[in-house]
Each structure stands twice: as structure tokens, then as C-alpha cells.
């Protein structure tokens, strides 16, 4: 199996970020087809058949989510494109937005037409200034062509699309925190229910998807839901973007059919471990997904179920590769430092828990660990995940447990040998 370029098609072509070149490759044909030849119900049906699942991390079926929006409800309804891309290891959305912004926009307009939405916001993380400018430019082009604004393609359908710039907060990737941020507040997650489909942005019905999810929509409309579904497995339709980084020969963003064997991706396409070294471990879907050992990767397929059956998650498709020389205690320490920095602080178990976790990982890494520390992590972990407002609690607890369970001897060695971990001045500890 090779790469299958649906979203990434023509991504390296000169000028692909312009409407003209995008259109020359068949861009906006799906939008014309959706608006001129299909009813909203027919579009929804194709998306359901396509088996497209949300690419933001949780994998919720898109067709089901679209079905939650009541078209006939009065008042404005909103769309949000989640371009906060903050999960460590993830770098796919930035690439799509910078090089192929029109595929995101085309997908958004089709979704908005299907659900009868009035306006949309692309929430771009503040660091992504270049993608933000690329999206703005593309949106202007789409307005000029009549793909956005009033009476789109003569259909009587009106839809406005705007960019928004975040300001540095991982937690704003959570859809409800994101909506609070868009409303000009601190980006703190909201309790669910009510769900965004009933009570979203400004309290109005709202649909949120990741950049990649919207980008899949044009191909589904152009080629049919069945075509898309057939690219993947019976439960996960289509292609998925995988970003592979770390100790790998050819790091980068690749698009693969869901269900592609891990071995083919890692060895044939990404070139295996860098410098012919041995593999130590892999994080399969971003830093919030539990680390996997080489034997757990045997026979694994790149789809939601196969990775879940090994106790981890497909997540955002952000694969981080560690070779045999990697200090996994340091990796775990750095991951926990991230979470301790990013908790929004409104739930006590999460706010205190991630600080405790970091304290413990930090003292082990500094060579001041105690023997009971690993048990302490195990015990603490039971009280965090189930008692928090958002999934952030689980996002640091499950990977922490995987690190200490799978690399127990490495941690014990640090604890036994003491002060050889953090060489003075190696990191700032800021």
C-alpha cells in the first residue's frame, strides 16, 4: 500500500494555495455539485455513508454530529473549525491551512449548507500566524468568487466565514473552552451537557470539527460516500493524515487509508528508525495517547479500533518515534511538565493532580525520587479522570500510567541511582 492523497493531493504544486490553481485541480466542483444538484438531506446521507469520523482526536462520527443540528430552529446557528492544533506531536492542520486553505473552506461551506448554518469561525492558534494569513487570503478569494457571503451560487443560501486568532492556551483546543475563548473570555471548558449542538457559541446551536475533518468533505461529495468509506475499514472510513516525528528516517505528514498496516507506514513509507537504530517505543496519536512498545505494534493497523485494542488511541495521528538511545524518564518528565503548565485550573483534581504528577516525575528525573513514588502515581490517578469537567484529566493520567508501567525498570533505576538524571543546566525548569 502506498500513500493515498485525497486531502494532500497536489499539495506540493506551485500556487496550490490560490483559488485559481486549486480550482484548476477540480477545486470547488464539490461545492457546486452540493449546492446545485443535491438537497441537504442527500448531503447528510453521503456523509453518513462515508463513515467519516472526527479527526480532532475523539473520532466521533461526523454524520451523526451533523444530524444533531435542527435546521428549522430559529435564530443564528454557527460552525467552528478547530485549528488550535496544540496536542504535542501534531503538525498536520498547519500544513493543510498553509498550503491548501481552499480545501478547508470548501468543506466548511458544504457542511454549513447541509446543516443550514449562518456563520463560521476558524479558530487558529495564536502561534500560527502564517496559516492565519493564508486562510484570510483564501477567504477573501472565496468571497470574491461568490462562494461565501450572500446568495451563494444563486442558491439563496447565505454564509459568512471568519478567522479568529487564539493567544496561546492548549486547553482552547477543547471545543467548549474554544467557544468561551471566541466569546472573549478565559478559555475554560464548559460542563457538558448541554452539548454544542444545542448550546454552543453565544448559546446557539453550533457544530465543531477539526481542520482535517472539514477537508475530507469535498472528496466525499465529489466521489460519493461509498467511495470514501471504501478507502478505510468497515468502521473507520477514508484516509487519515499522519504526522510522524522524532527518531525516524523521513519525518513529515503523510496521508494513508485508514487500516494501513503500521509496519508498511513506518518501514516502507517513513523509512523506519533513523540511522538504522533499534526501536524503543512509539507514541501513536499525540502526547495524550499511551506509549506503545515494539511488540505491541506487531500486526497493528492504523485505524481507531486496532490501536485501541492495544490500549492506546489513534488520537490526532501524531506518531512520535523513540529509538533505543531515548531516555524515557526524560520523555515522561517533559510530557508532564507540559500538562502541569496547561491545565486551566477550574477542577481541583486536575489542577492539583497535574502539579503533583509533575512534582513526582520531576523529582525522579532529578534523581530525588522515592521508592513509593510510582505507587503514588497509580493511586492518585484513580481520583482524577472521572472527576473533571473535560478530558484533560485523562489526557495526562493515561499516558503517565503507560510510561511508569512500561518503563518501570528505567524509573526504578533513576530512583536507585539517584542524582544522575538532570545534568545541571540541561533544561531551564522554567
Amino acid at each position: 500500500m502506498a500513500e493515498k492523497k485525497v486531502i494532500l493531493d497536489h499539495i506540493n504544486d506551485e500556487g496550490e494555495q490560490t483559488l485559481e490553481v486549486y480550482q484548476g485541480h477540480g477545486g470547488y466542483k464539490a461545492l457546486e455539485k452540493a449546492i446545485k444538484q443535491m438537497t441537504p438531506a442527500q448531503i447528510l446521507e453521503e456523509v453518513k455513508i462515508s463513515n467519516l469520523r472526527g479527526r480532532g482526536g475523539a473520532g466521533f462520527p461526523a454524520g451523526v454530529k451533523w444530524g444533531f443540528i435542527k435546521r428549522e430552529a430559529l435564530g443564528p446557528k454557527y460552525l467552528i473549525c478547530n485549528a488550535d492544533e496544540g496536542e504535542p506531536g501534531t503538525f498536520k492542520d498547519r500544513r493543510v491551512m498553509t498550503v491548501k486553505p481552499h480545501i478547508v473552506i470548501e468543506g466548511i461551506i458544504i457542511a454549513a449548507y447541509c446543516m443550514g448554518l449562518d456563520a463560521g469561525y476558524i479558530y487558529i492558534r495564536g502561534e500560527f500566524f502564517e496559516p492565519y494569513q493564508a486562510m484570510d487570503k483564501a477567504i477573501d478569494e472565496a468571497y470574491a468568487k461568490g462562494y461565501l457571503g450572500k446568495n451563494i451560487l444563486g442558491s439563496g443560501f447565505n454564509f459568512d466565514l471568519y478567522t479568529y486568532l487564539g493567544a496561546g492556551a492548549y486547553i482552547c483546543g477543547d471545543e467548549t473552552a474554544l467557544m468561551n475563548s471566541l466569546e472573549g473570555k478565559r478559555g475554560m471548558p464548559r460542563l457538558k451537557p448541554p452539548f454544542p449542538a444545542q448550546f454552543g457559541l453565544y448559546g446557539k446551536p453550533t457544530t465543531v470539527h477539526n481542520v482535517e475533518t472539514f477537508s475530507a468533505v469535498p472528496s466525499i461529495i465529489a466521489n460519493g460516500g461509498k467511495w470514501y468509506s471504501d478507502l478505510g475499514t468497515s468502521k473507520s472510513g477514508g484516509t487519515k493524515l499522519f504526522g510522524i516525528s522524532g527518531h525516524v528516517e523521513r519525518p513529515g505528514v503523510y496521508e494513508l487509508n485508514l487500516g494501513t498496516p503500521w509496519k508498511e507506514f513506518f518501514e516502507d513509507i517513513a523509512g523506519g528508525v533513523r540511522g538504522g537504530k533499534k526501536l524503543k517505543a512509539v507514541i501513536p496519536g499525540g502526547s495524550s495517547t499511551p506509549v506503545l512498545l515494539p511488540h505491541e505494534l506487531e500486526g497493528m493497523l492504523l485505524d481507531y479500533e486496532s490501536i485501541a485494542s492495544r490500549g492506546s488511541m489513534l488520537g490526532t495521528g501524531a506518531v512520535i518515534v523513540f529509538d533505543e538511545t531515548t531516555d524515557m524518564v526524560k520523555v515522561a518528565w517533559r510530557a508532564m511538565k507540559f500538562y502541569a503548565h496547561e491545565s486551566c485550573g477550574q477542577c481541583t483534581p486536575c489542577r492539583e493532580g497535574c502539579d503533583w504528577f509533575y512534582d513526582i516525575f520531576n523529582r525522579i528525573y532529578k534523581g530525588e525520587g522515592r521508592e513509593e513514588d510510582l505507587d503514588k502515581i497509580e493511586n492518585l490517578s484513580k481520583f482524577i479522570g472521572p472527576n473533571t469537567i473535560c478530558a484533560f484529566g485523562d489526557a495526562f493520567v493515561t499516558p503517565a500510567l503507560a510510561f511508569i508501567r512500561k518503563f518501570r525498570s528505567d524509573f526504578l533505576e533513576y530512583i536507585k541511582k539517584g542524582k544522575y538524571g538532570l545534568k545541571s543546566g540541561e533544561t531551564s525548569h522554567a
Binding site: 496536542e87 503538525f91 502561534e127 493567544a167 519525518p251 502526547s287 517533559r334 540541561e426 531551564s428
Partner: protein, 178 residues
């Protein structure tokens, strides 16, 4: 800060910051994105903070008051928002803000070491600014460019595959540019 002078100067201080013409034009562009009601007005808090920072370099007390005024919110609310988001600078930084990613992949590829070495070469600690006011070096979380790590962001621009030598060259180039 001296509280007395602060209080007496409050009114004049508020007048110390306001949007210049290009900032105002940018703000007008953002106004069109949101509903014309108090909730939509509040959505302008973060964009207004951005525009202020682009103009002024950081979020001062005057900026907070001004943003509250033009978004019809309370200074306390604006302050709460400004402190929640890490990209809003609460104090002046160097002309070039060197933001080194040291998250998992970048550290694996040596980025944490490049950060430490750069600090040493510049003679600053994390978060400090060089005496000539040119460079501030900070450690940041994943920048979403892990495939080309180690990643460095200087003001808005990304630089990838950073090594000690590359950073040294870049620092010299930036010095010349300034």
C-alpha cells in the same frame, strides 16, 4: 509600582494608549466578524489585545483600560483574559522574542540543548532580555511543526531544524537587520 502616583495618574494614563490609524483600521475589520450586541462586543477583547500588542509591544495597564473601553467590558475582565493566554506579554521583551520549543519531539532532536546553549551565548537566563534590548529567549510548548524539529519561533516567524550553528547565524542576521 508606586500606588499613589498610579492612582492620581489613572485618568491621564488611560489616555496614554490608544490605537493609531492602522490599528484602528485593523480593529474595524475585526468588528465586522461578530454580532452587533454586547456578547459580540466582548468577542473583540482578544483581537483588541492582539492589535494593542502589535502596536505597543506588550499589554500594559493602559492597554487594559483602553481595551475595556472599546469592547465595553470591565478592565478586570480584560486583565483576567490577558493573563490567561501565554502569548500576551505582560512586560516588554527584546526586539526579537526567541521562542524555543522544548516539547517531546523537539527535545528528542536536541532542541532543549540548543535553548540552553543559546541562553549561555546570549548571557541571559530563560525569560531574560539581553542588555542591548535585542533578544529575549524563552522556552515554549509544541509549536505544531514537530516534523521539522527542533523548532524556533522568532516573533511571528518559524525557523526549523535548529542547531547551535543555525541559531548563531540567525542571531547575527537579526542583529544586522535591526
Amino acid at each position: 509600582m508606586d500606588n499613589m502616583t498610579n492612582r492620581t495618574n489613572e485618568k491621564t494614563k488611560t489616555m496614554n494608549f490608544s490605537f493609531n490609524e492602522s490599528s484602528m483600521n485593523e480593529f474595524r475589520r475585526w468588528e465586522k466578524k461578530f454580532p452587533e450586541d454586547p456578547a459580540g462586543r466582548r468577542s473583540l477583547v482578544i483581537p483588541a489585545l492582539w492589535i494593542s500588542q502589535w502596536q505597543h509591544g506588550y499589554i500594559s495597564r493602559d492597554v487594559i483600560n483602553y481595551v475595556a473601553e472599546i469592547t465595553q467590558t470591565e478592565p478586570l475582565h480584560v486583565w483576567g483574559v490577558a493573563t490567561f493566554y501565554t502569548l500576551f506579554k505582560k512586560e516588554k521583551t527584546g526586539k526579537f522574542l526567541l521562542q524555543f520549543c522544548t516539547n517531546i519531539t523537539c527535545s528528542l532532536m536536541g532542541g532543549d540543548q540548543v535553548f540552553v546553549n543559546t541562553c549561555k551565548k546570549l548571557g541571559v537566563k530563560a525569560g531574560e532580555t539581553t542588555r542591548d534590548g535585542m533578544f529575549t529567549a524563552v522556552e515554549v510548548e509544541c509549536l505544531g511543526a514537530c516534523g521539522e524539529s527542533p523548532t524556533l519561533q522568532v516573533n511571528e516567524k518559524y525557523y526549523t531544524h535548529m542547531t547551535d550553528d543555525e541559531v548563531e547565524k540567525l542571531v547575527a542576521d537579526l542583529r544586522k537587520m535591526a
